[in-house]
Symmetry: C2
Subunit: 350 residues, 2 copies
């Protein structure tokens, strides 16, 4: 380790400031690099379409818990979290590489189970597995996936294109994956050390599936294409709606007004949240892992977007000076603060 | 984990058979996928040049030991192992993504030290860092890097193109990284629990640097280009010469004759090997991590290749029926067997 005299603890910094620190020295050298760090994916120039590249690292104990995450679902999810980033660029995924590190706990059958989920996702979304690395791990399991996608240059959506008066839209519903995780953690605690008892999951399949086997929002990308709409900005909701709204506002140099009572929340999420004394809105804002898409479109597209299946209009873009704001049902403004549910923050809390 | 009745232990299988098992179900779906798994890198079609994509996962305790691997060197090496794969395709690296997982042991200063090595490699080889992921780790440190490179389609070198009578060539010298590792491990054991003592490294800088901070063989790629030579096959030497020769023979459906007394071994490697009662040829054949390039060229190129700085002609390609063979100094043939020094095998031995 470093002999350096100064020691700055990572939890003093948080993930986003760490990333800022790390990426500070970057100066782009190659003409083929159209967009480097700072969006859902990097963008590369080729003579034809542009390519997008994104990568995610999943670590046992941080991103998944093998006591309740079935290996097939885990493989599927590990691919999906990457495809979600590709779709968030309004691009189509084409290739992935998969690296895994596993301890002796894993048998060949376990690895085949994990890969069956990886291949299912590849099959479903038309992606080729083109490379990777397999290694022993002395400790926990590691899955690292990189996805490559393509799109015509003018269709790629960055976080930086939102304009004043644009409509703010989200797909599906929010907070459900977080409530699914809370349920899994609760049952794990209840059953710890008790054999023969079964977890109480009846009626909660929806939120469990949302956490254990999320689906990327390809249907939206297809629908946008069909309607001839290119969002002015887009991001996938992996750290919670608050965090993603702040990314769009910061990168687009705008503010936003998002109406709390417009945020789509499923009934099962409501029910579980009530049972656990959690505000479902907080789950939606700060929960994360929903892998829905958050995007902005010009206000002229209101009627088309309003008619889109599974899309909710939740607010609109305002000047940067107004700041990023939530609007409570009673009408008062609440400033949005960063409380992303990212792995770095999670460890801080523990 | 899997509820499956059968349980096949990974060490019964070995890395290469595990990879065969995992990759069996793959059917390429996209026209842009020119080459999937099975070479140093995947190859993607674009309208212009082809892209190559490769990825490597480095895990603490398996691939590196922080008690003797300086973080800056480790960052540099983590990039180099990927660039080496890109050069082995006769392509030029352009972009990398870097994902890291680190525990609370790491301070910001440690991470900056690691990235200073990553950026040094990027700077030296003209590569842009375009994306990544940072995460906490509950256990050891993890570094996962994906590199993207480009080359004109007709210049890309696969493992599969070696032809009968081709010359077999290697760059630099072999076995030095392995002896460097042995020295580090010896001094670590000697000093365990003893404070105030210093490791005995005097005179062995070369082999230490070969292990701790290897250089990818970009000069060869530039030289080949200058001389207008496209190797018929190429691979980087990461698992030892034996293992790489077997890959080329298998993929090209040929045999080989490699003369033991032509294998380039540095004097310091010889000296350390003698001191440790290791056969330096065994270090070269099975040691690994040298990151030299092994390549084949048509015999007509003999004079050009023989005049290339830092290139040794070590043998030639023969029909597949003759098998992959080493030729001892006294003239007898020794069949080459797979004893790759890969992470999976390493754990088996422990």
């Amino acid at each position: 380790m470093s002999d350096n005299q100064t020691r700055t603890e990572l939890h003093e910094l948080g993930e986003f400031r760490l990333i800022d620190k790390i990426t500070e020295p970057i100066i782009i050298k190659n003409a083929s690099t159209a967009q480097g760090v700072g969006d859902d994916a990097a963008v590369l120039n080729t003579d034809g379409k542009q390519l997008v590249v994104t990568t995610d690292l999943l670590l046992e104990g941080i991103h998944f818990d093998l006591t309740y995450h079935p290996l097939k679902h885990l493989g599927y999810k590990a691919v999906v979290v990457n495809l979600s980033d590709v779709y968030a660029m309004n691009a189509h995924p084409k290739q992935i590489t998969v690296s895994i590190g596993v301890s002796k706990r894993f048998s060949l059958e376990d690895i085949e189970e994990l890969y069956s989920g990886i291949y299912l996702a590849c099959e479903r979304f038309g992606v080729d597995l083109v490379g990777g690395d397999t290694s022993s791990s002395l400790t926990g399991a590691v899955i690292s996936i990189t996805a490559i996608g393509e799109a015509e240059a003018h269709k790629i959506c960055y976080r930086s294109g939102a304009k004043e008066n644009d409509l703010i839209c989200v797909t599906g519903d929010l907070g459900s994956a977080y409530m699914g995780l809370q349920l899994l953690e609760r049952e794990k605690k209840v059953l710890e050390g008790k054999s023969g008892m079964k977890p109480q999951f009846a009626g909660y399949d929806y939120i469990l599936e949302r956490f254990l086997k999320p689906e990327p929002r390809k249907p939206l990308i297809d629908l946008l294409e069909k309607e001839g709409i290119v969002p002015t900005s887009m991001i996938d909701i992996s750290d919670g709606l608050s965090s993603e709204l702040l990314h769009i506002c910061k990168n687009s140099e705008v503010g936003c007004r998002v109406y709390i009572d417009k945020i789509p929340i499923d009934q099962i999420t409501h029910k579980m949240a009530n049972e656990m004394n959690v505000d479902p809105i907080v789950a939606a804002l700060n929960g994360g892992e929903d892998f829905e898409l958050l995007f902005t479109v010009p206000i002229e597209k209101h009627d088309v977007v309003a008619g889109m299946d599974g899309v909710s209009i939740v607010g609109h873009v305002v000047p940067q000076s107004n700041g990023p704001m939530l609007v409570a049902p009673q009408g008062e403004d609440i400033p949005i603060t960063a409380q992303g549910w990212n792995a770095m923050t999670k460890t801080e809390e523990e």
